[in-house]
């Protein structure tokens, strides 16, 4: 057994899961609870409690996985910065996954949607906007449609209604915008119970295994920890913001230039001109 920790602090809900690098189907431990604006004070203590209850020492960890958002900018950074530190301190590989994917995986694992169906995750982006992500359910897992972004609930609902299919809706954005989706989608809107709107440990572990990209859990699972650390070095992980800072947005509006499609802040984004 090679335990890894997965956690997410991008929403007002703290979630942690412990998986096994030797067995993608295994969940060793999980916990989730509301923690509005408290992630930095509760995350590590919750992690320590979860691990010690299972007799796992920090030195036993083989990898760290963390939610990259999109979500609250500060919340995402607390998770990503803690993950970078934890991976760095243990010389462990660090992999990321989207918070929205983790919520969809929670729904998938619970068998809430039949194969062929759609899951629409609506993250709360504040300012009257949402972070949407649409997933097609397959017997093996989930296929995400499109990239992460930020938009108005009306635009998101209109786009999803054009599919003329039932969509199982989850996510914290429903607390504010449920009516918009119900109005626009009509009978195609199937709002799940609110307990499915937040990430949980099992969903995080599943999302970590399913994540694609350069350095994924699947790609490092077969390596030694030292090799995996070089492959998925903690310095490389970046949050998914989907928005630039207000100052940069204002500057782009002035310059009439467009935001990069993926909105991911990279090392060159916002640099000197």
């Amino acid at each position: 057994m090679r335990p890894f920790i997965a956690f997410d602090t991008a929403t007002d809900h703290l979630a942690l899961g412990v998986g096994d690098l030797d067995d993608p189907g295994r969940l060793l431990a999980e916990v989730d609870r509301p923690a509005p604006r408290a992630a930095n004070t509760v995350l590590l203590a919750a992690m320590d409690t979860l691990l010690s209850e299972r007799g796992i020492e920090p030195a036993d960890l083989a990898a760290v996985a963390c939610g990259r958002g999109p979500g609250s900018f500060t919340g995402v950074r607390i998770g990503v910065a803690t993950a970078k530190g934890a991976a760095h301190g243990g010389r462990l590989p660090l992999v990321g996954f989207s918070t929205l994917d983790a919520i969809a995986w929670r729904v998938w694992l619970a068998g809430q949607v039949d194969p062929g169906g759609l899951i629409g995750v609506i993250g709360d982006a504040m300012r009257g906007e949402v972070y949407p992500a649409l997933f097609r359910v397959t017997p093996e897992g989930l296929t995400r449609h499109g990239d992460y972004g930020v938009t108005s609930p009306q635009a998101c609902a209109a786009a999803w209604s054009s599919l003329r299919e039932k969509v199982v809706l989850v996510g914290a954005g429903l607390a504010k915008h449920r009516m918009v989706f119900e109005e626009v989608l009509g009978e195609c809107a199937v709002v799940a119970e609110s307990r499915w709107w937040t990430p949980d440990g099992a969903g995080l572990v599943a999302a970590a295994w399913a994540a694609t990209g350069d350095s994924t859990l699947s790609s490092v699972a077969g390596m030694s920890t030292a090799e995996a650390y070089e492959k998925a070095h903690p310095g490389r992980l970046l949050p998914i913001y989907t928005r630039l800072s207000d100052a940069e947005e204002a500057e782009r509006r002035r310059e009439r230039s467009s935001t990069p499609a993926n909105g991911v802040a990279g090392p060159l984004e916002g640099g000197p001109r």
């Binding site: 930095n40 004070t41 509760v42 995350l43 590590l44 203590a45 992690m47 320590d48 409690t49 920090p58 030195a59 960890l61 900018f73 500060t74 950074r77 607390i78 990503v80 910065a81 803690t82 993950a83 970078k84 530190g85 934890a86 991976a87 760095h88 301190g89 243990g90 010389r91 462990l92 070095h233 903690p234 310095g235 970046l238 949050p239 913001y241 800072s245 207000d246 100052a247 940069e248 500057e251 802040a265 090392p267 916002g270 640099g271 000197p272 001109r273």
Partner: protein, 497 residues
């Protein structure tokens, strides 16, 4: 103060302190039952004349030390005696096979909760109505692993502690490795100034993003430059405030994650105290009483240092910080950001008496300063010249503005020295890099026979070496952070971290 094992003859004195300390005190018989048990360690702290001032006891089971009792007599509380006793008990617990310590404390006992938190304990639970006599809740607290904390304290007392420090309070991501609080093995700073320059000042959201991107690489570089591995370090330190909340949070979250998996103790450092310690790095002979002039983009204050670790803010700006005023004037003149260095360079070729800018509060009967009136005077002068169609003489404006700022800072510092009988002055903070201010202050203090201590240029601006230096004393004293620690953006100098 010395610490020794408890004996039967100590019990009457201990029971007396117990009765003054708790609503539900132990009686003498209970203390008597504890003596001689193999899984217990009871210690007393005594004054030089042998009087008992505090005591505590632990029970060790299954690798955990349970703190059963800890009390300090009322007259000596707050003197650090409780902390020393706690760590002495931790040492005894480790000898009995304990890895961690746990305790219950009344939720209303704020002083005790604060003591345990400052030793790195975390609240892990609450037992409602646990104390039947008072109905008070008990907080369940756990320490981090004791061994590494004791090792770090021993190394710090011996002057051989290796500390990795992180600083991220504003727009510099910095890391440093230091031995013994004075030997700088590396000091790496990744400045974000280019990312903020085009916005005319630090954009907090950009700062937070850049810290997140850079922090792991900066730490790797600091370790590599120092020629040490993380496993060689005894402890970590991080700035917890004051500063930009989003920026601080990145450093604190990262440092806590790193300390957790690396099994290292973590120390929280006040950024302003770090600036004071930067002067000590260059000038180890520096001793209180000292007046410190802290001048930066975010702070402008005069501090009286009565002893290391004890600070009293005796003067402050009522509006803008000095660095902020430089930035605003530079922006007004279209000189870009940051304003300090560019105005300072221009001033070299200017006439400081060309424009009679005001010296606000120069003669007030206190140690406070104000810069907004001076800034307004510069704006009015510039607008007047522009509307008259005259070309701006930038070097003269820069020199006259800089002289007006400096005159007030120097005058207030001299006044503070006289009022408080200080033997030395520390000039610290980013603006301490201003050559004109350094020269003027040195001239004024030389005339008074007062020593001026100014950090080297690279330690004036934000850096992590100063954080590592400040951490050394905290480690010696056993002041640590727990896993629940958070950034404190408005942290005041002299307030407990």
């Amino acid at each position: 103060m010395s610490v020794r094992p408890m004996t039967g003859s100590d019990i009457p004195a201990i029971a007396g302190i117990e009765r003054t300390s708790f609503d539900d005190p132990w009686n003498e018989a209970l203390f008597g039952d504890e003596l001689g048990r193999p899984d217990r360690s009871w210690l007393v702290a005594t004054s030089p004349d042998g009087r008992i001032q505090g005591y505590g006891g632990v029970m060790v089971t299954h690798g955990d030390a349970h703190l059963m009792d800890l009390a300090v007599e009322p007259g000596v509380r707050g003197s650090g005696l409780g902390r020393r006793l706690l760590w002495a008990l931790a040492e005894g617990s480790v000898a009995l096979g304990a890895r961690r310590m746990t305790l219950e404390v009344a939720a209303s006992n704020a002083a005790a909760v604060s003591l345990y938190e400052s030793c790195g304990f975390d609240i892990r639970g609450r037992r409602r109505g646990y104390y039947p006599r008072t109905g008070d809740d008990a907080l369940l607290m756990w320490s981090r692993p004791l061994g590494p904390h004791l090792d770090a304290m021993r190394a710090a007392v011996a002057g051989d502690d290796l500390v990795l420090a992180i600083e991220s309070s504003c727009d510099e991501t910095a890391a440093s490795v230091m031995r013994g609080g004075t030997e700088q093995l590396s000091n790496v700073v990744a400045s974000q100034v280019d990312f903020h320059a085009r916005f005319g000042g630090v954009v907090p959201e950009i700062a937070s993003r850049k810290h997140t991107e850079a922090i792991a690489g900066v730490v790797d570089e600091a370790l590599e430059a120092a020629g040490v591995r993380l496993s060689d370090c005894h402890a970590m330190a991080v700035t917890i405030g004051p500063g930009l909340v989003g920026a601080l949070v990145v450093g604190v979250a990262y440092a806590k994650g790193l300390a957790y998996t690396a099994g290292l103790p973590l120390v929280g450092v006040n950024h302003l105290e770090g600036h004071i310690y930067a002067a000590r790095l260059l000038d180890p002979g520096l001793e209180p009483p000292i007046v410190a002039l802290l001048v930066s983009g975010g702070h402008t204050m005069l501090v009286h240092i009565t002893e290391w670790g004890r600070y009293e803010t005796i003067g402050r700006t009522l509006d803008d910080a000095v660095g902020e005023a430089f930035d605003k004037v530079a922006k007004l003149l279209g000189l870009g950001y940051p304003g300090g260095p560019v105005l300072s360079r221009l001033a070299v070729d200017g006439d400081q008496q060309a424009i009679p800018f005001p010296r606000p509060m120069l003669r007030t009967d206190d140690l406070n300063v104000s810069l907004s009136g001076l800034k307004t005077a510069v704006i009015q002068y510039v607008e007047g010249e522009r509307s008259a169609g005259r070309a701006l003489r930038l070097p003269d404006i820069a020199a006259s503005f800089q002289a007006a700022v400096t005159d007030v800072q120097v005058a207030k510092t001299v006044r503070a020295v006289n009022e408080h009988g200080a033997r030395a002055v520390v000039l610290a903070g980013g603006v301490a890099a201003n050559p004109f201010l350094r020269e003027r202050l040195r001239g004024a203090l030389d005339d008074m026979g007062v020593r001026l201590s100014v950090p080297p240029m690279d330690l004036c601006t934000d850096n992590a070496a100063m954080i590592a230096a400040a951490a050394h004393d905290a480690i010696s004293a056993g002041r640590f952070l727990g896993l629940g620690a958070d950034a404190v953006p408005n942290l005041r100098l002299g307030h407990a971290v």
